[in-house]
Symmetry: C2
Subunit: 154 residues, 2 copies
DNA sequence: CTGCCTGCAAACTCTTTGCACGAAT
DNA sequence: ATTCGTGCAAAGAGTTTGCAGGCAG
């Protein structure tokens, strides 16, 4: 999904929900979709201010739920105090695991198709209907352990 | 593992690490192992104070890492602001998924043996060695949706 | 014009830390 | 006797919220 298309999706989502397309919301959207990697709310504030310096921290925090609800952004919680976000350029299947490198703090995502099957197991065993699933792997970098430098760090 | 055995493990862990077996630490241990379900740091403070009312919040937070390091307690992060803990009565394999019921806020654990296999996939694809894995499923209660009451709630 | 949105700053939640006193070894 | 451990209260980090004014529809 290209950025202009995603932007239009955002506008129509806002309209549909009776929300206003303010400059700040659009700046936050643009800042988010300019990112190639995961980012925090705080980083997003900086990026958005480069586009529209009137954006405040409060508005970033108020806009993030709108962007995740509309499935334009994906929230990634790696249990590190702060939450990470990333643009959902493709359809965005939930069958993805986050792999966090403990050496370089990078977050990788790799597919985990069996999670869907696992959902039905949960369903039948506990009588619960899965809404979302999250698989997170914490790992050490093999190269870092040998050389003391993480090749992906810079 | 019975509670007295676990308690002895705790004492020997403390000694081995050069830490002191204070009344507060033992009260926190006892409070934790009296629980059948998951609990928060705040709840643990209450339980521990029932045993020794001199226990402070700070000491609970300082003791929890000792208990998780010694593998007597398992930390469960469901990404809800606060962390949950539960006694590790058996050996405690890490191949367990947490299933959080969105209706009754209960946390269930069910085995997910394929996670181990998945670890090696991560390893070969990314050159990372997995340290820990976490699979969390958020789900709705089927009975709750039909009857408006969660049978496991009370 | 109306009322949703905004920035600001204060509040909040959970957790961590500095300090001087107290207790375990 | 030494230290390590403790309670207290304040500090932190990240996020949320109340309020008065501002801008989209």
């Amino acid at each position: 999904m290209s950025i202009p298309v995603a932007r239009e999706k955002f506008r129509s989502f806002l309209t549909r929900k009776g929300l206003r397309a303010t400059n700040q919301r659009l700046a936050i959207f643009d800042a988010a979709f300019a990112q190639k990697d995961h980012f925090t709310a705080d980083q997003l504030l900086d990026f958005a201010r480069d586009i529209d310096d009137s954006v405040s921290r409060a508005t970033v925090y108020r806009t993030l739920p709108i962007l995740t609800e509309s499935a334009l952004l994906r929230e990634v919680d790696i249990g590190s105090g702060e939450k990470y976000y990333r643009p959902n350029r493709d359809g965005g299947s939930t069958q993805v695991a986050q792999v966090v490198c403990l050496d370089c703090d990078r977050i990788f995502e790799i597919s985990a198709p069996f999670m869907e099957w696992y959902g039905s197991t949960v369903s039948s065993k506990l009588g619960l209907t899965p809404v979302s699933q999250r698989l997170q792997v914490s790992a050490n970098c093999d190269v870092f352990r040998r050389t003391g430098t993480c090749p992906r760090h810079g």
